[in-house]
C-alpha cells in the first residue's frame, strides 16, 4: 500500500523532471536555437559578443560557451530554485509573469469545469429520471449539437453577439483598465464581467457531453438489481435517488473531472486568445509570436505540471472515494 503511494509520487517527480529536461532540450538544442535570432539581433546592434552571451545566460540561465552538461546542470538548478529565466518580450522574470497570469486561468478553468460537471450531472440525472420524455429528447438533441460545435466557435459567436453587438459584456481583458488592482467590490465585479463569456463558452459544449455521460451512467445504475431491491426494501425515493443512483453514477465521472481540469488548462491557449484574456494560455501564444522562449517554456512547464498533478490527485483519491477500487488496482488505468 505504502509502496503504491511512493511509486505514484516518484512517478510525478520523474515526469516533471523529464518535462523540465525536455524544455532544456528545446531551448538549447533545437536546430537554429531559440537564441540565435536574438543573438544576431544584439550583435547587429553593436553589442559586444561577451555582453550578448552574458545577457542570454541571464535570460535562460544558460551560458552558451559552457559545456553542455554544465549548461544542463545550471538550467535545472535554476528551475529547481524557481527561476524560470527572464521574459525577452516583457523584460520581466518569467515567474512573475506566470504568477500574475495563472490566477486568471485557474479561475476560468476551475469555475467552468465545475459548472460543466454540475450542469451535466443535474441535466443528466433528470434525463435519466424522465427517460424517453420530451425533455430527455430535447436535452439530448441540444447536448449533441453543442458538443459538435468546438468551444472556440461558441466563443467567437458569443463575443460577437454579447460584447460587440449588444455591448453587454466587455470584449477583452481580465478587468477594466480604470479599476484598481486590489480586492474590492469594483474589482470583483469587473473581473466577473470579464470572465462571463470565457466561462460560458468554455462550459456549454462540455456540459452537454457530461450530461450525456451522466444520463447513460444513471440509466445503467437504475437497471441494476440493487436499485430494485432498495425499492422493495421500502427505502424512500429520495434516498434511492441520492445514495443509490446519483452516487453510483457520479463516481465514475470523478477521475474524468480531475483529468479534464488538467486538459482544459491546455485549451485556454485558444480560449484566452479569443477574449484577449491575459492568463497562461494568452502569454503562451504571445510568447510564441514574439519568439520569447523563456516565457513559452515557463507556461508550457506550468501547464504540464498541472496536468501531471491532476492525474496524480485523481489516482490517489479515487480509491478513497470508490470502495470497489483499492489503491494499486487502478495502477495502469491511464
Amino acid at each position: 500500500m505504502v509502496n503504491y503511494y511512493v511509486r505514484r509520487t516518484a512517478r510525478v517527480f520523474v515526469t516533471i523532471y523529464l518535462v523540465a529536461s525536455l524544455t532544456f532540450g528545446l531551448v538549447r538544442l533545437l536546430p537554429g536555437g531559440p537564441f540565435t535570432l536574438l543573438r544576431a539581433q544584439l550583435l547587429r546592434q553593436g553589442v559586444p559578443a561577451d555582453e550578448v552571451d552574458a545577457r542570454i545566460a541571464n535570460l535562460q540561465n544558460i551560458r552558451p560557451d559552457a559545456p553542455l552538461w554544465r549548461q544542463y546542470i545550471d538550467y535545472m538548478g535554476a528551475l529547481f530554485q524557481g527561476n524560470l529565466g527572464e521574459s525577452i518580450s516583457l523584460g520581466e522574470p518569467v515567474v512573475s509573469v506566470l504568477a500574475s497570469a495563472a490566477p486568471w486561468t485557474i479561475f476560468v478553468v476551475l469555475v467552468s469545469t465545475i459548472l460543466v460537471f454540475v450542469v451535466g450531472i443535474f441535466l443528466g440525472s433528470l434525463q435519466a429520471y424522465w427517460e424517453g420524455s420530451r425533455f430527455d429528447q430535447l436535452v439530448t438533441g441540444v447536448s449533441i449539437s453543442l458538443m459538435s460545435v468546438p468551444f472556440y466557435v461558441v466563443a467567437v459567436i458569443a463575443l460577437y453577439i454579447f460584447a460587440y453587438q449588444f455591448g453587454w459584456l466587455p470584449t477583452a481583458g481580465t478587468v477594466a483598465n480604470g479599476v484598481e488592482r486590489e480586492l474590492g467590490v469594483p474589482f470583483v465585479v469587473s473581473a466577473l464581467k470579464h470572465s462571463v463569456l470565457p466561462i460560458l463558452s468554455y462550459t456549454l459544449g462540455a456540459a452537454g457531453g457530461q450530461a450525456l455521460a451522466m444520463r447513460g451512467n444513471s440509466i445503467q445504475v437504475l437497471g441494476n438489481d440493487y436499485v430494485q431491491v432498495a425499492r422493495l426494501r421500502g427505502l424512500s425515493d429520495r434516498r434511492i435517488a441520492t445514495r443509490y443512483v446519483a452516487r453510483n453514477a457520479i463516481l465514475p465521472m470523478y477521475t474524468g473531472f480531475l483529468l479534464l481540469l488538467g486538459f482544459r488548462l491546455g485549451g485556454t491557449v485558444i480560449l484566452e486568445q479569443i477574449f484577449s484574456y491575459t492568463g497562461l494560455g494568452y502569454y503562451m501564444i504571445s510568447a510564441l509570436n514574439a519568439n520569447d522562449y523563456p516565457l513559452m517554456m515557463g507556461t508550457f512547464l506550468v501547464i504540464t505540471v498541472a496536468l501531471v498533478l491532476g492525474v496524480y490527485v485523481a489516482d490517489l483519491t479515487y480509491s478513497k472515494i470508490d470502495p470497489r477500487i483499492s489503491a494499486g488496482e487502478s495502477d495502469e488505468a491511464y
Binding site: 422493495l232 426494501r233 443509490y244 453510483n248
Partner: protein, 349 residues
Amino acid sequence: MDATDPIIEMRNARVTYDDGETFVLDDVSMAVERNEVVGVVGESGSGKSMFASAMLDAIPDPGRLSGEILYHKDDGTTIDVLELSPEELRKFRWEEVAMVFQGAMSSFNPTMKVGGHFEETLKAHDADVIEGMARAEELLADLYLDPERVLDSYPHELSGGMQQRALIALSLVLEPNVLVMDEPTAALDLLMQRSILMLLQELQEKYDLTMVFITHDLPLVAALADRMAVMYAFDLIEVAPRDQLIGDSGHPYTRALLNSTPNLDAPLEEMRAIEGQSPAPINVPSGCSYAPRCPLATEECREVDPEFYETGVGHSTACHHWERARETIDLNFEAVEDDAVGADTEDHA
C-alpha cells in the same frame, strides 16, 4: 386445493407487458399455507420470477399485474396487496413479505457497507435501529457469518455465498412472516447451495417462516419443501405435497421433468431431456400449453385448456389424461431396478 390456514392467496393473477395481448403470468391461482415451505419449479422463462414478484406486487416495469393477491395478517384481517396505497405497499413489503432476488451478487449497493443496508432498511420502516441491528447480528450468526466483519464490509469484499447469506439475513431483519426466494442459490456451487438450504431450514423452524422457494432445480427444493408446484408456460400445472409430487405426479410434464432430473436416486445416464421447446408468450397454444410436446396429447387437449383435476389428497393436476400419464410414463427411479442394464448402453454424458 385444501386451504385450511392460508397466509397468501393468489387469485387469477395475470401479468402482461403488452396491454393484454399476451400474458407472462397467465391466470395463476395458488394458496400458500402459514408456516409451510412451497417449492416452485419450472424451466427458464416459464414465469417463476413473475410468480414470485406478484406476491409483493413487484412486477418489473412496465409489466401490469391484475387479479387478487390476498394476504391474511396474523391478527386475522385480510388485505388485497394490489389495492394498497403506495405508502401501505412500501410498509407491507419487507415487513410482512420479504424477497430474496435471483442474483444476490448484485442486490447490494456496491458503494455502501453491508451494515448500512441493514440500518437504512430499519430506518425506512421506523424500526428501532439498535434492537434491529442486534437482530441482524443474531441472524448473521445464525447463518454462520461473523456479524462484525460482514456488517463492516463492502459487498465486493464478501464471497458470493457470504453475500447470499447476508442478503437472507437482510430479508429477515424486519421479521417478516413470508420469505419469497427467487433462485437464491443459482449462482453458487453445489456445496454452498446445500449448506444454504440447510441454513434456510434452520431459520424456517426458528422463526416460524412461511417460505416460497423458487428454482429450476427440482431436487434442490425437494429437500426443503413441504409442498411443490410446477410451472409450465406461465401457469401452474401441478401442485401437490412433496412426496406425492415426486412419487406419483399426474402431469406428463412433471413426469418428464422428474425423468430429466439427474440426482433423484437415478444414475446420471438415466437423464432424459424433454423434447421440444416451451412456448414463447406470443404463441401459447389454445387448449393445453404442453400439447405440442406431450406424448399423450389428444384432440381434447388441443381444444380444451385443462382445469385442475383433484388427483390425490391436496394434489391438483392440470391434465385431462392424468390417469393415463401415471400408467404410461414410467419414472426413471421406479424403473431403476429392472431397467438398469439397458441404461448402461446409453451415452455417459
